[in-house]
Symmetry: C2
Subunit: 469 residues, 2 copies
């Protein structure tokens, strides 16, 4: 047993040790945090640019405040321009434009209404004035707050409705102390227009981040993720139980997971993209809805891929005989669907029409037919049903994926025409087609190498005549 004295010394030592190690621990935390910030910047350098843009715009607008003539005109209200930049400037052009327009329009309408409310209230004068204004405020605030729950309003005008309440309250309530409400409303409108325009101009002119492009790329990435999974899946499924190859990188088997839950982010992006003006090859009314359609089909394909993934981990193993017979057609479907999806992704990314995906879709459909006939053929009678199930289930899901890929290809085709994708320089000859169909299992780049530049033109329609779409 320690004496009380020794105990106290022990406690002191612990406290002392903690205090001694505290600066070191704090330093570690700071270093860790800094590293996380560095990583964040490396992941997407546009974030750094955005931060600098925000800082500069705020400073630029705050210069108004320092200039005597501007300050004499606007007074303390000049600060609103600075505050507007802070709340309006978002990462993407779409979001900034959406907030800016919402803020300006809401200020205009609410300012006018506020002035009107003040006029009505002053007719009464005395104690009646604040009462009438309070009644107006309760009514307007409650109704507009309720309107914010409407899904359509929430998606596009949520910020505007909040700004509407804010400006209305600001103008009508402060009219009690300052009779010159029109002047106040105008000053507020001017400063907010200055702040919003500064943000929008800075956002568009200096290294702009178009949310429409991000949506465009995300849809392509999602298709690529599904393609990557399917590319490696068949090898993984038909080999893994023979030999255990856990050492190789299998990250491609997990990439598709983000596709499954991408719905809300895609919808949000499409909502914001609608605010964006024409940029690059994206028009003002670019068919964003069609992107959502492709996204939805990709997710449905993702659910099937999730089922396939489940069979990788499943305990039930298919007997070797069954595996061997299923392997070829299954691999073919998987690889061809993968190529089709990757080509579709590249079609979207490059915004060029391409007939290559159709070939792979046709190949994968053909492989599905082949698989059907393999399954319909005679099987040795001593195979029991239970053992066949996992393999059969994988085969069945793969057949569905072939159908799903075709649907995605159709949606992308629709997107191509809606978004006016360019027709590329003709590069694939009918001979190449035949080759691809015959050696469908090879990579998509094989026939790119065998391209005959001098070959006669072969448009999409002639090429895809073999494909039912």
């Amino acid at each position: 047993m320690e004496s009380p004295n020794e105990e106290r010394t022990g406690a002191c030592r612990r406290v002392w040790r903690w205090l001694k190690s505290f600066p070191e621990k704090l330093w570690q935390k700071i270093v860790e945090f800094a590293w996380r910030l560095v990583k964040l910047g490396k992941e997407d350098p546009r974030r750094i640019v955005h931060s600098i843009k925000v800082g500069l715009t705020i400073t630029l607008v705050s210069i108004f405040y320092y200039f005597e003539p501007v300050y004499d005109g606007l007074g303390d209200c000049a600060m609103w321009a600075v505050l507007t930049v802070i709340v309006v400037f978002e990462f993407s052009v779409g979001a900034t434009l959406g907030r800016g327009l919402n803020r300006m329009l809401a200020t205009l309408v609410a300012g006018a209404l506020g002035v009107g409310a003040h006029r009505i209230a002053t007719q009464l004068g005395g104690i009646g004035e604040p009462i009438v204004i309070s009644v107006f405020v309760v009514l307007i605030a409650a109704i507009v707050t309720f309107m914010r729950f409407l899904p359509k309003m929430k998606a596009r005008y949520d910020y505007g409705l909040m700004m509407f309440i804010l400006t209305f309250c600001l103008i009508s309530v402060s009219s009690y102390r300052d009779d010159d409400t029109i002047h106040l409303a105008l000053k507020r409108l001017t400063t907010i227009i200055v702040g919003s325009c500064a943000s929008v101009i800075m956002c568009i002119c200096v290294w702009p981040v178009w949310i429409g492009v991000d949506l465009h790329n995300q849809i392509a990435t999602n298709l690529e993720m599904l393609g990557s999974f399917l590319e490696g899946y068949a090898d993984e499924y038909f080999k893994v139980s023979d030999e255990d190859g856990n050492s190789i990188d299998k990250s491609f088997l997990e990439g598709y997971k983000s596709v499954l839950t991408s719905k809300p982010s895609e919808e949000n992006m499409a909502n914001l993209a609608r605010w964006e003006p024409r940029h690059g090859r994206f028009r003002y009314r670019h068919p964003w809805k069609q992107y959502l359609k492709v996204g939805t089909l990709a997710r449905q394909c993702g659910y099937k891929v999730e089922a396939l993934h489940g069979y990788l981990l499943s305990e039930m193993q298919t007997p070797l005989e069954v595996r061997n017979r299923l392997m070829e057609p299954c691999t073919m479907i998987s690889k061809e669907s993968s190529k089709a999806l990757k080509e579709l992704a590249s079609t979207i990314r490059k915004m060029t029409k391409s007939s290559v995906p159709d070939l792979h879709v046709a190949n994968s459909k053909a492989a599905a037919e082949n698989l059907k006939s393999v399954l319909k053929s005679d099987w040795s009678k001593d195979v029991d049903l239970f053992e066949i199930i996992p393999g059969a289930a994988v085969a069945s899901v793969l057949m569905e994926i072939a159908t799903c890929t075709q649907q995605i290809a159709e949606a992308v085709l629709e997107l191509e025409s809606l978004a006016n994708f360019k027709r590329p320089k003709p590069r694939v000859t009918p001979e190449d087609h035949l080759q691809v169909i015959q050696h469908g299992i090879n990579g998509p780049h094989d026939h790119v190498i065998t391209i005959d530049e001098s070959s006669p033109t072969s448009g999409r329609n002639e090429n895809s005549s073999t494909i039912t779409r």
Copy 2:
């Protein structure tokens, strides 16, 4: 051919007709909009209450502005209290508290920093002052804007970081015109505390909406949706191709779709719920993460349910013989998993421990074993593999669902202990258990009817000893 005169008259008529019908069309639009609002209120009357609460709080706080003594102390800054209410008051307590605390803390820290920046700048004086302040503003705004990209920061402190930039700029920039920065910072802090506290108090005291309760209910609803699907699925699958019964209501087959994309909304709710104080049976540190875990497992089950749904629409039909042999065990798994999920949902909803789900989980596991042996048994040799596939695939997915249900039950059990669910008055006797296991296909309410209130106590542990968990 019409003469130009007749043409003009025709055009005039069309314009006149349009003008005549315009008020009617406008009225239609207004009525439609009003109906949509009424529907919105009926769906969730808490929305109406929230809107009225917001309106009243704004008016209450604006009364400060009308009172001479308060106005004399705060001046125009009193308006900030009103604006704070508008931007802080959210639908749920969690969101309001989160925004309120973020706003107050950010104002405190940024106000102090702003005053400090002003002190440093005034040391230089003259043209140096705005330059030093501008440098500070660029630096602080850029760094804090960049920090907003950190996922952890974004989830909980996004609004606070924005408010930090806002207050810092407000204080430091306006210090150029008004040397009494400390006074300004204090006024801002005071008004923001008043506005935030008014919002939080109103939000908590008058018919509060706890986002934690919403999350709690949503997780339960998700399990119910999956349960409803599985309840009707087997009947639907094994009957639909025999007779075409499209006339009955099949909405239960679609309800689960919302489960698939619920991830972001659940995560958001969990983030907001962490701000909420103790309320009802929810503690301050309620295990919200465990809800997310149950939600993730429910989604995984949802993906399998999506696969099952696919087989309903699939063209390939299993031959009658196969169907008949698979029907019983498949129906059993489906119904028992359904009951287990629904009982788990009710366990969560009522926050009471229950051993009933375990029974159904055990039953569904037993049925899965039964299905396995049916599949392993001899099948007539003239059944071809291709025809068996859809049925076999459904069987295989159902077996996975049995496993998945067990995992969900385990996660809910963990939740029960983490969230201190109550132990209910003992209601199920070991005899009842036996009965449930024997007549597992009957509804969960059967043994509720046979409850023997006078039966000896039987805790969860003894009951669930037969179940592997």
